[in-house]
Symmetry: C2
Subunit: 364 residues, 2 copies
């Protein structure tokens, strides 16, 4: 940001801005938007998979039946009818949710921001995975925490390392995890690790922030139980319709116990008064009836076929490869036949960072 050299306000910025630099998320989006990058690799959901006539039906219904509501302010917690539908999505993964315990947010990203705003004082410790979702790090960083990074292996967060950190005196405000199809690592936390994490955090009185954008994109096998279902009192659950329907509507949510929830609603109202009534009604209508389920199956089929596609030769499109266990989460674009890939992706490592049961590469 060269123009900042002559910035007349250089002495006025808040301390929290000193850590702000060109967004990591933006950098990844920029890579994903390049036409030669297949979307499996980079990050954009395959919204073309949602039939246009379904979108039209839904939107036409909202405009003809609910225009005054759609164009007006709504409450800060989000529409009750939509929260019912979001609770239904959670039941698909075996998690009971009371819509009263929910706040609708501008994508799950805003839920991350509100968690940070409500829980983090400057200097507070919080636990994140190594690597962690870059958007979460951006959101939390604004509140100036100290990050305690806990490594991942093929079964998710290595909970023994967290326990060691606690024994050594770490007192984190919360533990942040993406247990399903981790972005960027691709791993899914095993049942045993989930039980271990939930028990440890309960004992240590540390809330867990469970970020689950990809749970319903499972290609095969059975779902792991959500952490929230294992300990509703101690887990703040974050969800989004970005992968199930559309990220362009910016509808996500947080589910929490009343103390945290009420503060998140107040923080939400201070941040933007309320979400868009229009996109909430569109999402509510889309999730009523059966089409969302059929379309989601279509999306999952597309993502699975991309994973299974032959890697191709010299003419295959380049892909973004992130071997996230070793070097963090910066994407590199390389051709499948490049020498570097041959060297790094040997027999021990999958070529497309499919480290777990599958890799869901779309973004929150």
């Amino acid at each position: 940001m060269a123009e900042l050299n002559v910035d007349p306000y250089a002495d006025l910025y808040a301390r929290r801005t000193s850590g702000m630099s060109a967004s990591e998320v933006r950098a990844l989006f920029a890579v994903a938007s390049r036409p030669e990058v297949v979307s499996l690799a980079g990050g954009m959901p395959y919204v073309q998979g949602i039939p246009q006539e379904d979108v039209f039906d839904v939107v036409a219904h909202v405009v003809s039946e609910q225009a005054s509501t759609a164009l007006q302010y709504g409450g800060g917690q989000g529409m009750p009818a939509l929260r019912e539908r979001l609770a239904m999505l959670m039941r698909e993964e075996g998690t009971e949710a009371d819509p009263e315990d929910m706040v609708v947010t501008t994508g799950a990203q805003q839920a991350l921001d509100l968690v940070g705003k409500v829980l983090i004082d400057p200097g507070d410790e919080i636990v994140v995975e190594a690597p962690s979702y870059v958007g979460a790090l951006s959101a939390f960083s604004a509140y100036e925490p100290r990050f305690i990074q806990i490594e991942l292996d093929d079964n998710g967060m290595v909970v023994e390392r967290l326990e060691e950190a606690l024994v050594k005196g770490a007192r984190p405000k919360f533990v942040y995890t993406v247990p399903n199809f981790h972005n960027p690592a691709g791993v899914t936390m095993s049942t045993a690790r989930r039980e271990q994490l939930v028990a440890l955090c309960r004992e240590a009185h540390i809330p867990i922030v469970e970020d689950n954008p990809y749970g319903l994109l499972r290609f095969e096998g059975r779902s792991e139980p959500t952490l929230r279902s294992m300990d509703p009192q101690n887990v703040i659950y974050l969800g989004t319709v970005s992968k199930v329907f559309s990220p362009g509507l910016r509808v996500g949510w947080a589910l929490s116990e009343p103390g945290v929830l009420q503060r998140m609603i107040l923080a939400k109202e201070a941040a933007d008064l309320c979400g868009s009534s229009f996109t909430m009604l569109v999402t509510e209508r889309y999730l009523s009836g059966g089409r969302w389920r059929k379309n989601l199956q279509g999306l999952v089929d597309v993502y699975r076929s991309r994973r299974d596609a032959p890697q191709g030769g010299r003419d295959a499109p380049p892909r973004v490869v992130r071997d996230t266990r070793v070097r963090g989460d910066r994407p590199r674009i390389q051709r499948p036949d490049s020498p570097e890939e041959g060297g790094r992706h040997d027999g021990h490592r999958p070529r497309l960072s499919c480290l777990g049961q599958q890799t869901a590469r779309a973004w929150v």
Copy 2:
């Protein structure tokens, strides 16, 4: 919030949450939603004034021509084509704006939050008007400033009082003002006061945050120049389509010099990645062509006729009366014939807090 008494996380909340209580804005919305309160008095824009067929046309165009873009993520700064339209709105009030200097936000409320996030460290002084828009106080409070309140009279902020505060050693990070049809005071800043404020802040090297949701709702007379047009280098301008079109789409914006702007974009990305592509495209389409101007004239006519309506007798609907110069901005519901009103609204005070040229009672 009685449930907080047994809150297991009572020791975990960030310090900034201690000032959070049931939102003032929410309290006002609740009053305005009561069917017996006419919307002039309480706060909701008259969205029924936007013809349904216009909304349908616009939305049908977006779905049929731009569905993939509408459903997908967008950039953190907001769509260039929309920013062009928002610059056009600003030109309607005689203010030149470069779309490159703009970030699209979730209503003007998010712009207020981002200004606070980028500029306020805990304990910093900021200048607000007395009374001030409650949503702005909520947004800024999350960053723990000390508020310096400067009184209003019929010509807007009494700039001499600000000058006195600076002489006594106040060093505010910025001055926040709603110069047109102030919410809740109803006053409009005179040209002379604008010149005085701009000159003082420039000399003192204090940026002005100009919040102008109501400028285009003028009932009569000519527009005052925006502060931004008088000193583009030292004014952060906030706008919204909530009053011109619809608050349910949550489209607002900030216009600023590059240093502040770049930080606001980064803070926006950390807060919610990006705005809704869908509502941005709908807004862009609505503001192209001539219908927005015709519909806005219709809205202004409705608001003017409400202001001019006879006050009625015992059967007239109760109204929210805020005599904001005297008692702050808490609404009271009273019947026109109530003894209290007779006592308070004597010859010196207008009955509906029309303190300035008009009162715009809708919300940001």
